[in-house]
């Protein structure tokens, strides 16, 4: 049993949290350098504004409709993201932070104590009370189906923001209504190819031959189809990675209390996150770190710390990411806490074309791309984990060295 909980129009909702005058008004958030719209709230969507549209193209329209326009503020968003995750975790022990505004929850044993629907409503009410954010919740057998239920919870307001479906017939009804692009892991290219096969709804996809799917699209789509049929293929921490941010987070096997241990863990996550950024050919500008104690711990104080560093130039260089992550960690670190979980998030991701800013004096590191390519190549062929971590460690000392010079 899985649950997907996500915040409606996260960036806009964060901007509205301390602004009662924005209640019910259209709000949009611009990307880095104010180039395009990255977030649009419900009222703005109703006026026809969409994500991804360049700002200059809709500027006069935004002014005409009196839309509140904000530049993106990733410090604020990760502040709320950490609180959102902490509230969910206090009610559900096993969670996986999927992106800045989405969490998967393992809801396996919920039904022993309460109905899934009641659990969803409780979670939603608590998040709203603590953080002012409104969320949508989907609960069902598999993660892919949970994503679809979540889509339904957002699309039809009569659901009250919570859709819990375990009944096969009702699930089929939902799949029949959901276009195939709403299925988790189906991108626009896959959608087009599927259309040529006459597959346009989730239900049709679920009836596709799995061997054919595997041959045409690979094993991930085959798993997606199995998941739509109610067969669990993705565990809590698996599945297609999120697009808008890069997240790496883990719960610790044993509680961490020493800063040096935490630095090691966070350096590891930062390295992994930078690798992911290079794989996806993305450059990050905001690096956030969060650390927290377990809500289930009875001994010791509870703590939920987070900090965000904004890089002067977008980067995918492990050294930049590690350095920023360590600075953020030091800012959020508090002594005497038994830490149960930590994570790093790269946000404000952009493509290569925006990497260089004419007016920014600090240019990206020279030779960074080559060094990172070499690093990735060694890691791919690396025989042992120790070799990898040695290289990560060296990368970190290189950072220190360049700071000292």
């Amino acid at each position: 049993m899985f649950e997907l909980i996500d915040v409606n129009a996260m960036y806009c909702s964060c901007e509205e949290a301390f602004r009662p005058d924005l209640n019910g008004r259209p709000v949009v958030v611009l990307s880095n350098n104010d180039s395009s719209l990255v977030a649009v709230n419900r009222a703005a969507k109703a006026l026809g504004f969409r994500r991804g549209v360049p700002y200059f193209r809709c500027r006069s329209q935004l002014e005409y409709h009196g839309v509140a326009v904000f530049s993106s503020n990733y410090t604020l968003y990760s502040f709320f993201s950490a609180r959102f995750a902490a509230v969910v975790e206090s009610l559900a022990p096993r969670t996986f932070t999927y992106s800045i505004d989405e969490l998967f929850v393992d809801a396996s044993h919920i039904e022993r104590t309460m109905s899934l629907e009641a659990f969803g409503h409780q979670l939603r009410a608590q998040v709203q009370q603590h953080t002012t954010l409104t969320c949508g919740i989907g609960l069902t057998e598999t993660k892919t189906l949970a994503k679809l239920c979540n889509y339904a919870a957002k699309k039809w307001s009569s659901t009250g923001g919570v859709v819990a479906l375990t009944d096969k017939n009702r699930l089929q009804k939902l799949m029949n209504l959901a276009p195939v692009r709403e299925v988790w892991g189906v991108d626009s290219r896959t959608e087009k190819t599927l259309a040529t096969l006459g597959i346009s709804t989730a239900l049709e996809l679920s009836r596709m031959d799995t061997r054919l799917a595997r041959r045409m699209f690979g094993v991930t789509l085959e798993r997606t189809i199995r998941e739509l049929r109610g067969e669990t293929c993705f565990a809590l921490e698996d599945g297609t990675p999120a697009k808008q941010q890069i997240m790496v987070s883990r719960s610790f096997g044993e509680r961490i209390t020493a800063l040096s241990d935490m630095q090691q863990a966070v350096t590891g996550y930062a390295t992994r996150a930078a690798e992911k950024a290079r794989q996806e050919k993305r450059w990050a500008k905001a690096v956030s770190v969060f650390i927290r104690s377990s809500p289930l711990d009875t001994q010791g104080a509870s703590y939920n710390g987070q900090a965000t560093e904004i890089l002067p130039v977008p980067s995918q260089d492990s050294r930049d990411i590690i350095e920023a992550a360590r600075r953020a960690l030091l800012r959020s670190w508090r002594e005497g806490i038994r830490y149960a979980k930590a994570g790093i998030m790269l946000a404000d991701l952009q493509g290569k074309e925006t990497q260089f800013d004419l007016f920014n004096e600090q240019m990206a590191r020279a030779g960074s791309e080559k060094l990172m390519q070499t690093l990735d190549r060694i890691n791919q062929t690396g025989h042992s984990h120790r070799l990898c971590s040695l290289i990560f460690g060296l990368a970190y000392y290189a950072v220190n060295f360049s700071v000292l010079c």
């Binding site: 301390f18 410090t75 502040f79 902490a86 009370q129 104080a301 939920n304």
Partner: protein, 144 residues
């Protein structure tokens, strides 16, 4: 009375100060100083629900009798239940305001300053944003 949210940032590492358990009488300090019973961490002392607590800065003087002054910082807990007599942050006419909540005889928001009139409000339209649990006030101004 206007309120400004304090720019959220990663909570600074908490500093624990020696905590003297005896009450300090306002006046001449007792020569028999209090004993250290534990370490006081101010953040832990003021924040009961970490995920639901926000810090807001006050401007205006409509709550001076509740010892809330211009420039003070309010600790606001969204998870606490507002009751009759609670100091609350509410939104009226699209603006945050801090007032005392009174439920009897009729629901109203009461400024604690005789110069301001009480605000009668429609209980359905009244939106309580959070309950003020502590006020952080600097006495630095008294010295100058």
């Amino acid at each position: 009375m206007l309120l400004h949210p304090l720019k959220p940032r990663g909570s600074q590492p908490g500093v624990s100060e020696p905590y003297f358990a005896e009450m300090i009488s306002a006046g001449f300090p007792s020569p028999a100083a209090g004993y250290e019973s534990s370490e006081l961490n101010l953040h832990e002392y003021c924040v009961r629900h970490p995920s639901a607590t926000y810090f807001l800065k006050v401007s205006g003087n409509s709550m001076q009798d509740a010892r809330i002054h211009d420039g003070d910082i309010l600790v606001v807990d969204r998870a606490a239940t507002p009751r009759h007599g609670s100091i609350v942050v509410a939104s009226i006419d699209n603006e945050f305001t801090v007032k005392q909540l009174q439920l009897r005889p009729v629901p109203c928001l009461m400024p604690l300053n005789p110069a301001y009139p009480p605000i009668l409000c429609d209980p359905d339209a009244l939106q309580i944003w959070g309950v003020v649990t502590y006020t952080v006030m600097s006495h630095g101004a008294c010295l100058s």
